[in-house]
Symmetry: C2
Subunit: 497 residues, 2 copies
């Protein structure tokens, strides 16, 4: 009896008709209701199950629509011929290939994710790359979002596919800001809006680099861009940023016939050393790029937070040859979860990269863009940056001083002129005690003080990595920083690696 295999839950969110549909379908798929078997008339099944006749009719209709039942006036409703497929399914003992066989990812995919590890994040006072979120003007932002969403009442076209690579309002607001604060020289049309800096790096890489094209990357350097370069099989050459002569000698680091295609740089605050690229190095880099027809990818990720004077003007404004691709993001200056970043492109790249972005689809919502444009235009962003620069300067000092005072024998902090994180090198004493930066970073992470090991930011194998911790200070207040450093000090003095 079919009815005996049906159990309906009157308390469920799912309607009775839907439940009946799902269960009958299950019986058919499991071949418990075989092909050709007639179903009871709706009135009869309804009466047996204690439901309304329409409930059964509805379920039968949907099953018919989906091909499980067929109705022939004379012969009533029966399980359709199409369902013989389920029998074959059951008998075939289909080898669930994908579930049991080793999963084959593409080489591109494997390279893209090669450095990923599962994230088990406890809140950490030294997490790098994380700005302060607790004192963000959430109320104000909430009001701006609401206002922006309501704009669609009078401008419904904002809800569609127009302006796919960025709303003009936001492009203009960004440009107005960076022209003054960063010295960018460009028109709004050169700006495209993306969902993240990672999406920016991915777009630039895939639009410009052939497999085995040469790309030059900083060492130690940022892993995010490395993943993209590896995935697209670039021939990646290191720029040893700790060597003060590096940028004067770029031509010596490649073969005579070789031509780099893309050069990645973080000139405002080198990631991770914090070094500010001096003017002579900037000019050398641009000359080098120009002589090879290479693009420079300038990642200006946290330049807004500069503690001595105004932020240093960017490379893009210095360039006269349309060679610099400028990357900006709101992840550090606003908050990471906002998911808005941008590229300011040389004129020749604007159309092709816009087309490319239409096909990668890494773009933020229009409401978010509108609200952000207001946040910039109304002066809130500038005020927030001023306030946070003051706060971050204070926290940098707190971390630096605390490290010197309490971890002095073991860690030597490197004083950054800006940004939201600092390196702290392991001293000889620390190394002699058996610590490596990886061991120490792991130990601290297990204590809930997640931070990075500097050596993990070396990637070419050409140099012996400096051993050091890489500590964020932006997301913790002065008290939390001091307590955190005390815990580090205790671990270093009381424990063995």
């Amino acid at each position: 009896m079919i009815a005996e295999q049906i159990t309906l839950d009157r308390a469920s969110d799912e309607g009775l008709s839907r439940q009946l549909f799902m269960q009958l379908r299950g019986l058919i798929e499991d071949s418990k209701l075989a092909t050709g078997v007639p179903l009871p008339p709706s009135r009869k099944l309804a009466s047996t199950l204690g439901v309304g006749r329409n409930t059964v009719i509805s379920a039968y209709e949907q099953l018919t629509l989906e091909g499980y039942l067929e109705t022939d006036g004379r012969r009533g409703t029966r399980v359709s011929k199409a369902t013989t497929g389920f029998v074959r399914w059951k008998d075939r003992k289909v080898d669930p290939v994908q579930n049991k066989a080793p999963l084959r990812l593409s080489i591109h995919g494997r390279r893209l994710i090669a450095n990923e590890r599962p994230v088990n994040r406890l809140p950490s006072c030294f997490q790098t790359g994380l700005p302060e979120v607790r004192t963000f003007p959430h109320d104000l932002w909430a009001r701006l979002l609401r206002r922006a969403a309501r704009q669609l009442l009078s401008r419904p076209e904002l809800g569609g596919y127009d302006d796919y690579v960025g709303l003009p309002e936001l492009k203009r607001a960004i440009l107005d800001h960076v022209a003054i604060s960063r010295g960018v020289v460009a028109d709004p049309e050169q700006v495209i809006i993306l969902s993240s800096a990672q999406a920016s790096m991915d777009l630039v890489t895939r639009m410009l680099l052939e497999p085995r094209d040469m790309a030059m990357h900083e060492e130690p350097g940022y892993g995010g861009v490395l993943a993209c370069l590896k995935a697209f099989d670039a021939d990646i050459r290191p720029i040893p940023v700790l060597d003060p002569q590096t940028y004067q000698r770029l031509h010596e680091s490649i073969g005579e016939q070789e031509t780099p295609r893309l050069i990645y740089a973080t000139p405002s605050h080198q990631f991770p050393t914090g070094r500010v690229m001096p003017l002579e190095d900037r000019l050398s880099l641009l000359e080098f790029a120009a002589s090879h027809g290479a693009f420079v990818l300038e990642d200006d990720y946290d330049s807004e937070f500069h503690f001595s004077g105004a932020p240093i003007s960017c490379l893009q404004g210095l360039d006269r040859n349309g060679l610099v691709i400028y990357m900006g993001t709101f992840a550090k200056s606003f908050m990471p979860s906002l998911r808005v970043a941008y590229l300011i492109l040389p004129p020749a790249l604007v159309e092709p990269f816009g087309f490319g972005l239409r096909n990668t689809g890494a773009v933020p919502s229009h409401t978010t863009q509108l609200a952000l444009a207001s946040f910039l235009e109304e002066g809130h962003f500038k005020a927030y940056l001023r306030e946070m620069t003051r706060v971050y300067r204070e926290r940098r000092d707190a971390l630096y001083d605390a490290l010197l005072e309490t971890c002095g024998p073991f860690l030597k902090p490197v004083y950054p002129e800006g940004g939201i994180q600092m390196p702290a090198l392991l001293t000889d004493a620390c190394l002699k005690a058996g610590w490596t930066d990886s061991l120490l970073a792991d130990r601290l992470t297990r204590e809930g003080m997640e931070c990075s090991a500097l050596s993990s930011l070396y990637w070419s194998g050409a140099w012996k990595p400096q051993q050091g911790l890489f500590l964020g200070y932006a997301a913790s207040d002065v008290d939390e920083i001091k307590k955190g450093v005390e815990r580090i000090a205790r671990i270093l003095s009381d424990e063995t690696p």
Copy 2:
């Protein structure tokens, strides 16, 4: 005299000190202030320019910070040695290679954007892929956004990098919805959240396909996935969806030793024909995929709008072998500018694809995700879908009837059982009059009635394309539809191609 080359605008938004800095910098970069040239004492320049001394000191300090000036106690401030680079710059007549030489994009990039054209969009009553935005509950959404943004006051961790591939709240809400409305069988952990369907297709392609791996795609079929497949150099084989036997004979369309890796399908409403894939074809497709260890990419883009009965259950819920990758999007059911889509992955793909997404960065803001979760959980989405299904059914009927009545001799509409667009085939009479669907679509686009030509959705060259228009009806009310069809009729009867 330096002062003669400086012009300060007291009315500008840009501070005087910043203006002075920028102009002095410009003089140095243009070599009008040569290396080694001393600058006037700050008090003197301030007096000559009529500004405060601090204004000049500030500008000098920033120029020193940036490397343009150097200060030597005895010799005062002069243009630094680093600036010799600017002289070399000027003399070198650097060939602005990137501006003048033909731009070299990667082959990948060129394939990715091969079908793009500049968009000059006038509002169009027949634009495909566009849902109605004017009657969307913008006020409600605005309130939900504000509420979501204010949640960060008590949960600041939402502002950081946690839950990068999707907030658990949204994953659960999506799954609760699609389990019932689409018959999806999965756990919330199998859901990842992206910024668009395009980003989903891009991620799937790059994580699974090696260059020249075989992918099978519908013909006529969606161009967005084609761009990704081409960019990653897949060997793309067509599935001729107009042949009713196609899915029963998939094995005949490839060589004996050949193995497809990925099969793209739009089973709910085939794009563009609107055909609903019957049960027997679904079972055949899944068997075919299982026998080859191929993944099926199910694009369920506008399945929610089904006009006869409930939407047909999806392929993912039918599969028992972890072979179906389910793509969903809120672009049609909510609005395109929201930029939220999702993948529901077989368990084996969850971790690697999550890692992949962390490196492509195509993710939406947390505030948007939270608000959307509420929109779903509080029943607003279900109510909105019900209402819009009613509206779109009405508009489908209006367009279908109007085309029959007024364009009958020339266009034969194809009645869709769901979705937001319909094909209308060109009749023999229309073709004899000299029209092709491209000519007609172009003509209509110039009239502000942008629509697609069906033949543009053919891509393999293996079949002669059906000639037809592809007309959206969701974004226009019944009146606008009728008026639009009258204009089409006039063009067809009064004009020559």
